[in-house]
């Protein structure tokens, strides 16, 4: 797999956004960004309202995902180009989510909304009208999704990559520093996890670093490329960014995203937790 299979740049979007079979999708947690301006032709997905079950902590089920994409006018054969704010965190999460339900042709806009804005490219408020489709999803591909028991079993046996900031990893902060810090669960990290903050995989403009730089980053952090890997963060979207780097850009075969992440693990009774900067 090469970068062009999974990433496009802004010039590609400008040249192809009107092509039949190409659908631009902005994915955010806060969709007011889309409402204030988005790339022409893009439809929106709300990370929470559209992709999370409204009652249980889980994803919408297969039928729900089918209904969502059908309503948004997305077909099974479409090439879906995802982008969003927060350095593409939620777009990367949606990418992983589309793969989980078996969508074949999905790519990220490198740099996401941030690079697009910093380059002063056009944003519009027109909302496109796309005719409804009959989207058919597959059963979840759990080869890319980790659950809590797998994480506990992976301690000392697989690569565990904690992609939160060093202060969250150590237990000094319980949330990213752009959010208030009150939380109920314990701080710290899963024992043996290596801390490679997601941000180290990205340039300042939100684009991904080169393959060589990425390989060096994880190698120097102690990732064993011959082992299977589980990535986690707080709620699973920053680790989807790292899952994308390891699985899609670097081609690591067995990489899972633990979407329960620290908000689940740090609230489990009886599991081991490590405090401080050391793994």
């Amino acid at each position: 797999m090469s970068r062009s299979d999974v990433l496009v740049d802004a010039d590609w979007v400008d040249a192809h956004r009107g092509d039949p079979g190409v659908v631009l999708v902005e994915v955010d947690e806060d969709t007011s960004a889309y409402d204030k301006g988005h790339i022409r032709g893009a439809v929106k997905l709300d990370w929470k309202a559209d992709l999370q079950d409204p009652v249980r902590r889980d994803f919408v089920d297969r039928a729900g995902f089918e209904a969502l994409l059908s309503q948004r006018g997305i077909s099974n054969d479409d090439t879906v180009i995802l982008y969003g704010g927060n350095n593409n965190w939620f777009a990367a999460y949606a990418y992983w989510y589309f793969k989980l339900y078996g969508h074949q042709n999905v790519k990220l806009l490198d740099g996401g909304r941030k690079k697009w804005e910093l380059d002063s490219r056009e944003l519009v408020t027109d909302v496109p009208r796309r005719p409804a489709t009959s989207y058919a999803a597959r059963e979840q591909d759990t080869s890319i999704r980790a659950f809590r028991d797998e994480v506990v079993a992976a301690i000392g046996a697989r690569n565990l990559i904690d992609v939160r900031s060093p202060d969250e990893f150590a237990g000094r902060l319980l949330a990213p520093a752009h959010l208030p810090q009150e939380q109920a669960q314990r701080g710290g990290h899963v024992p043996t996890a290596r801390n490679v903050p997601w941000s180290k995989a990205a340039e300042e403009d939100g684009t991904f670093k080169s393959d060589d730089a990425l390989r060096a980053l994880y190698g120097e952090a102690g990732l064993d490329f011959a082992r299977d890997t589980i990535a986690y963060c707080r709620i699973g979207e920053r680790s989807a960014h790292t899952w994308f780097v390891l699985h899609e850009l670097l081609g690591q075969p067995n990489v899972k995203n633990y979407d329960g992440s620290w908000t689940e693990y740090g609230s489990l009774v009886g599991v081991p937790i490590k405090l401080g900067d050391e793994s």
């Binding site: 927060n86 910093l118 752009h178 903050p197």
Partner: protein, 109 residues
Amino acid sequence: MAGSQPAEQAVSGGCGAPAGGAPVQDAGNQAIVQGKVTKDGSPVQVGYARLLNSGGDFVAEVPLGEDGGFRFFAAPGDWTLRVLAPGGIRADRGVSAATGEIRELEVAV
């Protein structure tokens, strides 16, 4: 809009960075770094504020609010606030955060 989103919702709902930063009434037990970015006296509405730790590593980022505002919930200590905006604008300011205090920055670019 995001700036009027209650802080509790921002925490329990997810991990994203609301434009301008999550709202706050008072510092409480938080160590807050906040401020506004202006250019020629007007708010910079399109741009990003990044918080870097004392080692220069990225910690957090928010899009600027409509008033050019940003807010971070840091830990006590020394930080660097970096502003990115269209036209290649890049500006750094040092700031020291303390628990229970709001540190205000005015960044003219």
